[in-house]
């Protein structure tokens, strides 16, 4: 594994999950493995869990993490090839990426989509510029279209909580939100859930189809009630429209899960990547009740990142 930016294959996924679960039991078992190695964590956007868990994962391996808030501490990045830089951007991404590649053994990058320039977002422009120019392994800390460390943590959480279930029914349900939200978490979750062999159903209001490259292999069921039936795990997430790119088509609050939604799925566990807008995306009732796995997902972010870093620095 050189980079970690997406789901690759089930064998690698199982290997990472197994390694993560070992680190969960003994987080410092490889404390000397990363000695003298450095990961640069480059943030072009805010972050709480990703920021903290990636640093901790690196420290657990004896690595030195260095955080750079590129958006606030560094220089405004120019993204366009061949640009005449006579406006507000100060440094071209290809120069910044190349320099950071000489400074670090691994680079971890967070770069959200524009949600306005669909073509640039779909080609995952910023992440791929780093891949192209940095010349070191790249880890995605959430890119324009994927959030693979989150999905790996989600797969770990599903495995931990489905010991008796052979092939759990997993439902990804759209939830209301007041802002236009990226597709990365939903895309990645679908990619990983199908890739890991789960039985995935996706439900959302009309007009909210995700990019089909991520949802193939999943059942699409626009009736949320039908979709939720017999669910073992329900992953809740808002996203903006993909076809009518970045637009909000619905804020229908009946899509927000409450206890009454689980009539036909009494044992279902509920997942969310956080941060969550309480009582908009998901009710207090669910988040504070026994169905919620959200804290376990967040905790598993450490061990997901640790497994990935460990595999990369071998």
């Amino acid at each position: 594994m050189k980079h970690f930016t997406q789901f690759e294959n089930i064998s690698l996924a199982e290997q990472l999950i197994e390694q993560a679960l070992q680190y969960k039991i003994d987080s410092r078992k490889h404390i000397s493995k990363g000695l003298g190695k450095r990961v640069g964590c480059i943030f072009l956007n805010p972050s709480l869990r990703t920021r903290a868990s990636t640093q901790i994962a690196a420290l657990n391996l004896g690595m030195e993490p260095i955080i750079i808030n590129m958006d606030k501490e560094g220089w405004a990045l120019e993204m366009q090839e061949g640009a005449v830089m006579n406006k507000t951007t100060v440094e071209h991404i290809k120069d910044a990426a190349a320099v950071l590649g000489t400074y670090f053994d691994v680079l971890a990058i967070r770069a959200f989509p524009t949600l306005t320039n669909k073509d640039e977002d779909i080609e995952d422009f910023v992440l791929n510029q780093f891949k192209k120019y940095a010349n070191v392994p790249i880890i995605s800390l959430e890119s324009a279209i994927r959030h693979p460390l989150q999905s790996l943590a989600d797969m770990i959480t599903i495995q931990e909580n489905s010991k008796a279930i052979k092939k759990p029914k997993v439902v990804l349900t759209w939830a209301p939100h007041i802002k236009a939200i990226p597709h990365a978490v939903a895309n990645s979750f679908a990619e990983w859930a199908v890739g890991c062999g789960h039985d995935l159903t996706i439900t959302h209001p009309e007009g909210y189809d995700l990019d089909p490259q991520f949802t193939q292999g999943a059942v699409i069921e626009l009736d949320q009630k039908k979709a939720l039936k017999n669910a073992d795990f329900v992953y809740v997430k808002n996203w903006s429209a993909f076809n009518d790119y970045g637009k909000i088509h619905s804020t229908d609050s009946s899509w927000m899960l409450t206890e009454s939604h689980f009539e036909n799925a009494p044992e279902a566990k509920v997942m969310h990547c956080l941060p969550v807008r309480r009582n908009v995306e998901l009710s207090d009732e669910i988040l504070d009740g026994p169905r919620s796995l959200v804290q376990k997902q967040a905790e598993n972010r450490i061990f997901a990142a640790q497994a990935v870093l460990s595999k990369i620095i071998i």
Copy 2:
């Protein structure tokens, strides 16, 4: 000691002072004590001394400090229980606190008061949400109503500079300022000075009474000249009105200490927590002269934090 958020009792205070003074002599004597332990330093407000001294204290114990500027790097926090989060806040404090509690062995929190919502400030809402939901020891890096690490450093400084004096006369004097300033430093200083058995007098213009829960045991003397008489230590601090909450009632510059104020207290030392507005709160003459202990207080912040962390991670 689980948390460190306020004065507890004189025996614990003396223990912490003694430990801090030992660390001042040999700062790395317990360099292996904190190995593999992590403190998350969560800032909702600016900080210089607290930020640097807490990191250094942790490193002196072999701990790994991780800084999170929640206000700038993370997500805007919702504070209200049961809120429908359809406005500007992105993450509920109870979710953030719980996640951070799973990531760190100790959490240190800076959260200033609103100075507009008196009820919320008085119950020290943000700090207590962390206490309630994080499930790990909490250290206050200045809360809405207290700044105990500052006060511990102040008590260390008084002890170091009063060897021959049995029960020093300590005066806390209000000073002018141009902005509405929190009560935390003044409250805590009163709480610790009385708690540690010092002879405390508080002086301020009319209308500047502090919350009485912090000042019991102190003499209140509104005549600054009388208050300063025979003082051994004079602690200078501005605060806004408490009763007429958060308001500025006086900017009377005669309250700013100059040499002439020390006619009847020739040996008095002057203290301030910094940052100080020179020639508004306190004159250059005093700050740059031999009475000033402000740099010693700042230095002792390291050893105060180190003693507290050391006690917590036992």
Copy 3:
């Protein structure tokens, strides 16, 4: 060497270059040298290379670097001696410098010029306040008038790339820009290039003379074409006017280097400190072609900083 804020003498420069080149071969050879020592990196302005390379340099010596973004995380600094601080500044630089001096073994400071107050800039006010009050060694991470770590990295890069050339012809050429830019990089480069015995020619449009204290020993040639003839190294940099302080007199794009500028200097290498405004200061053609040394300069920033820290903490 107590401080590192400017060129001192050729013997010290050669020593630092030699040490840096050794660290480039074996970066962790002195990994125990800085154990228990701390460098505080204080940023009053943005930074990418300086921020990352200084941290890495410190870690390579076993030191603990702590970053403080004073402009964003700390308090607004008052610069004027004797100021009545009743406006927007919260802490006087002399208090902040003294505190930070008690917290760290070495302080590294980034403080750009105002470009409006020439007198304050010329006396390098902020840096010198730290020197005056911090009482520990000071490293400049770029001050109002110099950027010595950049220049040291530049000298290393010239040495590495001029093995067969006895006394390389080095040309510092002004380049267009859309904003008023400080003189620090140009000043320092001239100071170090002459100091290190290089044959330096400086070329710029009329009205762009640098402060003569930095350019003595260099040839000034206003005709860029003549200046570039037979150049071995061409250092490209914009700066604003010095005499008509901080003003932009020219944006003449013919000063931007393209391949056609190298007719009479076919072997010339091109240098720039980064960040670079592509196709404004320097063409893609040059930056992406074989003449460019800009990535090597950036990489050498680590070893320049490491040599300096190493010398200081002996």
